[in-house]
């Protein structure tokens, strides 16, 4: 059973000057689950893309069952039995088609298939596939009507149905509930017995405990640690992934004065537990949790995009019920949203116009834009944030992702506020820009309360005074950012049952 399905040696890949893979070597044995861990930007996604034929490596070898494997396209990789379920779920399903068609998509796309579709045949085959993975929904439903977890299961079922030899799963449980994840693990066990090699990308401890045979830790484009054997050294793997122990991050805990934001008995949805969270002036509070833990919902509520199911929000002691972003801004709450390309960047505008977007009123007299005031304030912000550009008149599209993010965060720092909310401020940002942004946020945090939502732990410990962990819309952990018990924090994030029980017994 210990055949090596796939052997990678000294794989390198650069994007321009940016070296993403700096010589990856690893072996993936058949019938085993190799878990790959790595922080944001470590190069996990690029490695996956090379393996599944989306991108070509610059140098290095990949061998599949002993013969060289250099797929030029995903179709070629598919023919060799290398099947990938990508992290972004919507790449794995076609929303306008029904479940049956989605499950059979790969066979439909094969050249030489019969021209006409036979509904009954398709249905029979789809039922079989759905049964194998325990999907219980109606096969005639259009996928667009399904929730994110069902879509994820369909994408996985599709991959399993292709009879993979090497199956790559990129964060497959990120949107699954515990029960669905368990179903997935059963499927993985079955595939293992059939001798499929599985490369499983995740750093959720619950996943790793349940299925990992080996752990590969990845950092800065290299494999920084390999762990095998009966007792997998999870903490060691985390340290290898981050490159240093958590206690190496040095944050001077800020002095805290009066409370700015208080959530009193706030319920995010009707059946969720109440939240009681306070953020004070001078404090940087990080709220972390997985997708669906309620982070996005909470940020939307605070910025007037959603209404809470129940409870009260106090801003500087006064009732705060924003009904629109404009309303929230007027009350002194600024929010930099996640996913800058969709939610923040105005692609047709230059840096200045992007920076000043929320405050055009402040930068104009009787409605006419005051170009001089705009230029002065913007060039200050460009300097303090360290935005790399020729000047404020550069189009935002000419900047790198990290610099774009600096513009978007800088936008909300142009004017003072009572509460600054940053939703995933380090998304798609290189390590240098991340440090710059983090430093600046901490440096300016004295006169306001700062609330940051991130899903990566290493980002959280870099900038937080205090970290609160959300799981299924409830607080499951709270840590002051000093000598944090990292494994405990990680297990809280992944909703480990023990800590959940503890949290329940505390209440």
């Amino acid at each position: 059973m210990s055949d090596i399905a796939c052997e990678i040696s000294d794989l390198k890949k650069s994007f321009g000057p940016n070296q993403v893979l700096r010589g990856i070597s690893m072996k993936l044995p058949s019938g085993q689950v190799s878990v790959l861990m790595g922080a944001n930007g470590a190069g996990k996604s690029t490695l996956v893309k090379v393996l599944c034929g989306v991108q070509k490596s610059d140098s290095g070898d990949v061998k599949l069952f002993g013969s060289p494997f250099k797929p030029k396209s995903p179709i070629e990789a598919y023919k060799y039995g290398v099947i990938t379920v990508h992290q972004s779920i919507n790449d794995g399903v076609i929303p306008d088609l029904d479940v049956t068609s989605n499950l059979l998509l790969d066979s439909l796309a094969q050249p030489g298939k019969q021209f006409l579709l036979k509904r009954s045949e398709m249905k029979a085959r789809a039922t079989e596939i759905a049964k194998s993975i325990g999907f219980k929904g109606d096969l005639d439903t259009v996928v667009a009507r399904l929730g994110i977890a069902d879509r994820q299961m369909i994408a996985i079922a599709r991959a399993v149905a292709c009879n993979p030899k090497l199956l790559i799963l990129d964060e497959p449980t990120s949107s699954l509930s515990a029960i669905e994840a368990k179903r997935l693990f059963e499927v993985i066990e079955k595939l293992k017995r059939e001798g499929v090699a599985i490369l499983y990308i995740s750093h959720r401890m619950s996943d790793i405990r349940a299925i990992a045979d080996r752990i590969l830790a990845m950092r800065d484009g290299r494999i920084s640690g390999e762990f095998e054997g009966e007792d997998l050294d999870y903490e060691g793997a985390v340290t290898a992934m981050l490159g240093k122990k958590m206690s190496d991050f040095n944050v001077d805990i800020s002095e805290v004065s009066s409370p700015v934001l208080q959530l009193c008995d706030l319920r995010l949805s009707k059946d969720s537990k109440p939240l009681d969270i306070t953020v004070s002036r001078g404090e940087v509070l990080v709220i972390t949790g997985l997708l669906g833990s309620g982070k996005s919902l909470l940020s939307s509520i605070l910025f007037g995009l959603e209404k809470p199911a129940y409870g009260q929000i106090l801003l500087e002691g006064l009732n705060f019920e924003p009904n629109s972003p404009a309303n929230a801004i007027a009350s002194g709450v600024h929010m930099s949203p996640k996913d800058r390309a969709n939610n923040a960047i105005v692609g047709d505008f230059d840096i200045e116009a992007n920076l000043t977007l929320p405050f055009t009123k402040f930068f104009s007299n009787f409605g006419f834009i005051d170009k001089k005031r705009q230029r002065v304030d913007c060039s200050d912000m460009i300097d303090t944030m360290g935005i790399v550009c020729q000047g404020g008149k550069d189009s935002i599209g000419t900047l790198s992702g990290g610099n774009q993010q600096k513009v978007i965060v800088g936008r909300w720092l142009l004017k003072t506020c009572k509460l600054l909310i940053l939703d995933e401020p380090f998304q798609g940002v290189d390590i240098k820009a991340r440090r710059d942004i983090g430093t600046h946020i901490r440096a300016t945090s004295n006169n306001r309360a700062t609330l940051v939502f991130v899903s990566e732990i290493d980002e959280a410990v870099e900038i937080a005074d205090r970290i609160i962990v959300l799981h299924e819309k409830a607080v499951v952990g709270e840590h002051v950012n000093k000598n944090i018990d990292l494994p405990e924090l990680l297990s809280q994030v992944s909703g480990n049952s023990n800590t959940l029980k503890q949290a329940e017994s505390l209440q």
Partner: protein, 337 residues
Amino acid sequence: MNKDILREFAIRFGFILLAGLLVLFFSFFASGFAGPRSAVFIFQSVAITGILALGVTCTLVVDGFDLSIGSVATSALMLSAYMMVVLEQSAFVAVMACLLMGAVVGLVNGLLIVKMRVPDLLATLGMMFLLIGLQRIPTEGRSISTGMRLPGGQVADGTFAEGFLWLGRHRIDLFLEKLIPVPVIIFLFISVLIWVFLEKTRHGRLMYAIGSNERAAALAGTNVFGYKILAYMISGITASIGGILLAARLGRGDIASGNNLLLDSVAAALIGFAVLGAAKPNAFGTAIGALFVGILLQGLTMMNAPYYTQDFVKGAVLVVALIFTFALSSRVRGGNH
């Protein structure tokens, strides 16, 4: 490097250069083309389409589209005639009624799009049909002129007020006697007004922000719904101004006039994308775009090109302008998309 500069130059000034060359060409080869009267004639020929085009530019800025402008203009034409000839109202009342009608149509368009979530093209297409039909109902499909027989059997004996006709026919002395027609002045005035509004005020900037990334604009606290409705109201009002000027020039409520208004003005706004390499809707470009078409048609007419080639010429100009915008300047815009 050199190639880049050349390309940049072509994108920015290509279209204006082309317009300049056309003027030179016609000045040499079409006798009577060069001269103030001919120049004014060109302005006059594009004034009404230009005004409509400026309105549709505002809707393009918020990433919308207004197909109803042509029918708003003809409705204003019929409404003003009906007000004066049948209801025997004054010029002032007629003008106000038309402007109000334009604003209301724009408001309804905006509400359909924003509140009812009807896609912009479909909402304004529906409105277009509605208005084309509506304007025929009061007169049972006939044109309006003094002395016409009404559906009830009476004879309409109101007339077009002098003041109203002045709007369409009067010419102001400037160096030469009776040189500049009032519609040209109104066209230039509205051009400057819309240009200042879009380029110099924060409201214009926020409208551009909505057009580029609506969600980002909303999350920056912009009143997206309000600005979208405003854009359609501007479009409705400018279209009704166009209709008023057309009625004042014709002096009767001609049911068949204004057929070409929609296509011509949309073309002018789209040609405007190419001016100065803007690659987006802009008031200056729209005005230049309208003039460009005017110059070309005037020159060709003077060189005895038959009238039926006009639409073909306009179409060709539009296609070339679109190539300018989308093929040549794609690199400039490409950044974030």
